[in-house]
């Protein structure tokens, strides 16, 4: 086949053509657009899981809004609802803001709110339990601008619970099949490129302060190294969660700024209180003394976050961080407590979900620390679903994970993990009258009282008391309080993040 023979000229021509195409491909990015901002997320904003929200993520994008907002102090704030009132133990009336326009021009009314909640309840299997709402009769439009919610049980934190990105208000004309998303936010969807990006533009009729930049593009770059490189190469303007190992280098880069924000999240190990050998509080205290949290933060976490004392982040106002003393790192104390305890050389299994960032490394440090005070340990990495099962069945001795709140009501953080009837403990508590991380008795009562308290001071008092008792019994091994980090081009102004980073508003962003 002499006709197909390659000669030097053909090779050079092909190389030139490939080179030209590559250059053309590389040149095409919108970060050069003076009024557009490209934001790189670590998850796909068009993932199928967001079909309930018209096909795009309600997090980050500012396209759809909830009735209640969460501010920098983790307090609830009126948003699409201007006011709310608890009218009985289980009923709430919300006044809907007047004069709010959807992206298609229609005005927001109570019917839209009813539609949005009904959609959520029918499309997300977990929504009824999460929101304590069941059936269409639980959401009723009393008039054009008033909605009544009837919860399945007395639920004092209902307004905070619905202060969540996913509990947003949508127009009935939304269509996930056509990626038609209709919200009320400061940015409206222009284009959705599945598995790649969502292009949004500033919405002129926005009811509040409109966005300063004309276009926001949310793209997915899953690999943190690639996100960091893309930022340094000026291909994106903001990169969420750069690799921790790159933060120092980014901070020293003149063209890049790094924003840090304490979040409502924390990482801790929850002990199995009902199986030997971790059923012994003396051993649990020993293991708390054996771990140097500061060293973990300084090294593995590269100074992102801070050492934890309790499992509840101090950004949540009822955290007992300031009220309790930490278990100081002291190997000698730890060793003597191990000797004093009933520990007889059993193997302690540290269970870690494989999607926990730095989970493997932290677990290995814990294992090393335990070994150095004479406690045998092993690590079991588990896929997330398997991990959930292991925790709920109490198959293991120390369950390492993060915990945090994505809504204005962080109560579930304490209830689900430490109340006997909470999600983590319920299975064993109901089947065997035991549990996993629940002390039960007085702590259960304190958590229940805190949950039902309508006054912040009362809630704080009850929850702090519960945490003090948990700390005394070393129910957990707190590791660190989380910190959110994002890097952005230094030409950008108005970049600030919320303690729930996904609640960040981009309206003050300027380029």
């Amino acid at each position: 086949m002499a006709g197909n023979k390659l000669n030097r000229r053909t090779v050079l021509k092909s190389a030139a053509a490939v080179g030209a195409l590559s250059i053309a491909g590389c040149a095409e990015n919108t970060s050069g657009n003076s009024s557009g901002v490209r934001i790189a997320l670590n998850t796909d904003p068009t993932a199928e899981v967001w079909n309930t929200h018209g096909g795009i993520t309600p997090y980050w994008t500012n396209v759809m809004e909830p009735l209640v907002w969460v501010n920098q102090e983790m307090d609830t704030e009126p948003w699409l609802a201007t006011d709310w009132e608890q009218t009985s133990e289980t009923t709430w009336e919300f006044a809907i803001r007047e004069g709010v326009s959807f992206h298609n021009g229609d005005k927001l009314t109570a019917d839209h709110v009813v539609y949005s909640f009904e959609t959520l309840l029918s499309e997300l299997a977990y929504a009824p339990g999460w929101l304590r709402l069941e059936g269409p009769e639980s959401i009723v439009a009393l008039d054009e601008y008033t909605v009544e919610f009837t919860t399945t049980e007395p639920f004092s934190v209902f307004p905070g619970n619905i202060a969540h990105n996913m509990v947003c208000i949508q127009h009935p004309d939304r269509n996930p099949d056509e990626n038609r998303v209709i919200g009320t936010g400061p940015y409206q969807v222009d284009e959705v490129v599945v598995q790649q990006e969502v292009v949004t533009s500033s919405f002129d009729d926005y009811w509040n302060d409109a966005g300063q930049v004309d276009e926001l593009v949310f793209e997915v770059i899953e690999d943190p190294n690639t996100r960091s490189l893309s930022l340094e190469n000026d291909e994106i303007d903001i990169g969420m969660s750069p690799p921790r190992s790159q933060i120092d280098s980014l901070e020293s880069n003149d063209g890049v700024e790094v924003a840090r924000q304490e979040t409502a999240g924390s990482c801790y190990g929850g002990f199995n209180l009902y199986d030997a050998p971790t059923d012994d509080p003396v051993l649990r205290r020993a293991l708390n003394h054996a771990v140097d949290q500061q060293l973990i933060v300084d090294t593995i976490l590269e100074n992102v976050g801070s050492p934890a004392r309790v499992p509840i982040s101090p950004t949540i106002y009822w955290s007992a961080h300031d009220q309790v003393d930490p278990y100081e790192y002291d190997e000698d104390t730890a060793s003597s407590l191990v000797e004093e305890s009933a520990y007889g050389g059993e193997m302690i299994t540290i269970v870690v979900p494989n999607d926990l960032v730095n989970g493997r490394d932290i677990a290995q440090v814990l294992l090393d620390d335990f070994t150095s005070v004479g406690v045998e340990a092993e690590i079991q990495m588990a896929e997330r679903a398997q991990y959930s099962d292991l925790v709920r069945n109490g198959n293991g001795h120390l369950f390492l994970d993060t915990s945090g709140s994505n809504s204005g009501a962080a109560d579930y953080v304490i209830y689900d993990s430490f109340h006997s009837d909470g999600d983590v403990n319920q299975r064993r508590y109901r089947n065997e009258e035991t549990g996993v991380q629940n002390l039960g008795g007085e702590v259960d009562t304190l958590i229940e009282d805190g949950l039902q308290a309508t006054e912040s001071a009362v809630k704080e008092e009850k929850y702090v008391q519960a945490q003090e008792r948990m700390k005394a019994q070393a129910v957990t091994l707190p590791v660190y309080y989380d910190e959110f980090v994002a890097a952005y081009q230094s030409g950008l102004e108005g970049v600030s993040f919320s303690p729930i980073p996904e609640f960040t508003s981009w309206t003050s962003l300027e380029k």
Binding site: L295, T299, D368, E378, A382
Partner: protein, 323 residues
């Protein structure tokens, strides 16, 4: 009163026995040496030696095996010993390949990682070879419905992308090296079954097999004495090449978090854990990467060499086709 041997008699007797053992040993050693020399100069070994790449492959594999066997003596540090304050230190006299994100010695972890890779390789290839050979011989020798049934099962398994199927199996069983072995063995035996069956179909038509059948020799005996020894050549070649695939697959599955549980040193896991430090500490990822590359290269070169020696027809056919 009996004459008891004196101490000097006893010593003399022991000395005589030792001398006799020494002579025997020397004779045995001499025999072994001459056998080795003869083997070294035999046609297959000469053919194997004639290609430098084959020798390189053999050297790499032998190095790997010796490293795995003598890991505790070769490793300069305990592979699981952490020094958090010395983390991510570059190569130095103390740590020739640097330290990782936990301050563990990368060289020591690589050396011990060779054990894990070889252990899994040998186990998976061994299990696959045993199952595949049994199925292949049964199908090829029995023929008929048995052959049809077994080969359709092989076809079904081969229709799945191998690594993907292993990924699913390992995912269901949960992360552990044992589960990786099971997953890879479930996927891996089919190729052996095919190769063995093909060879058996050819061997069972040979005159000596027919003669054995006419003499009334039992099936099992025919298979054991005449069939198996004549089909093992291609199987050994396949097994050697398969070692490379298994090492690579194990590293891949471990990279995805389905393999070794921490703190076990495993090459794929080392790459997975170190990838976040690619830009700031290149040694954490690149050295395990190189180890995998050399191990795979070694087994592939050795496998190619063995194929040239044990299955020269393939080379001839390639040469005849002028490729």
């Amino acid at each position: 009163m009996t004459d008891e041997p004196t101490v000097s008699d006893r010593l003399k007797s022991i000395g005589d026995r030792l001398r006799s053992v020494g002579v025997q040993a020397r004779s045995k050693l001499g025999e072994a040496r001459s056998r080795l020399v003869a083997a070294y100069h035999s046609r297959p070994v000469r053919q194997f030696r004639s290609n430098t790449l084959n020798v390189i492959g053999l050297v790499i594999v032998l190095t790997l095996i010796l490293t795995a066997i003598f890991a505790p003596m070769l490793a300069p540090h305990d592979p699981e010993e952490q020094h958090l304050r010395d983390r991510l230190e570059g190569p130095s006299a103390e740590h020739p390949l640097g330290t990782d994100q936990l301050g563990q010695d990368v060289l020591s972890r690589l050396i011990f990682g060779a054990r894990v890779s070889l252990k899994i390789g040998v186990a998976v290839v061994g299990i696959s070879l045993a199952i595949g050979t049994a199925v292949g011989v049964t199908a090829g020798y029995a023929g008929g419905y048995v052959d049809e049934g077994l080969m359709r099962l092989v076809d079904v398994l081969l229709a799945f992308p191998g690594l993907l199927l292993a990924l699913v199996i390992a995912g269901i069983l949960g992360p552990s090296l044992t589960n990786i072995m099971i997953a890879l063995a479930i996927v891996g035996w089919t190729s052996y079954a095919r190769v063995v069956r093909g060879s058996v179909l050819s061997v069972k038509e040979e005159e000596y097999v027919k003669a054995s059948q006419l003499m009334g020799t039992g099936r099992l005996r025919i298979v054991g004495r005449h069939v198996l020894p004549n089909v093992m050549g291609p199987v050994v070649v396949l097994a050697t090449l398969d070692m490379a695939t298994v090492i690579l697959s194990t590293a891949g599955l471990s990279f995805l978090g389905l393999g070794a549980q921490p703190p076990t040193p495993e090459w794929g896991t080392m790459i997975s854990e170190g990838r976040y430090y690619l830009r700031s500490a290149w040694w954490v990822v690149n050295f395990p990467g190189l180890a995998i590359m050399f191990a795979v290269l070694g087994f592939n070169l050795l496998g190619d060499g063995l194929r040239d020696v044990l299955d020269p027809r393939e080379e001839e056919s390639v040469q005849n086709k002028g490729l």
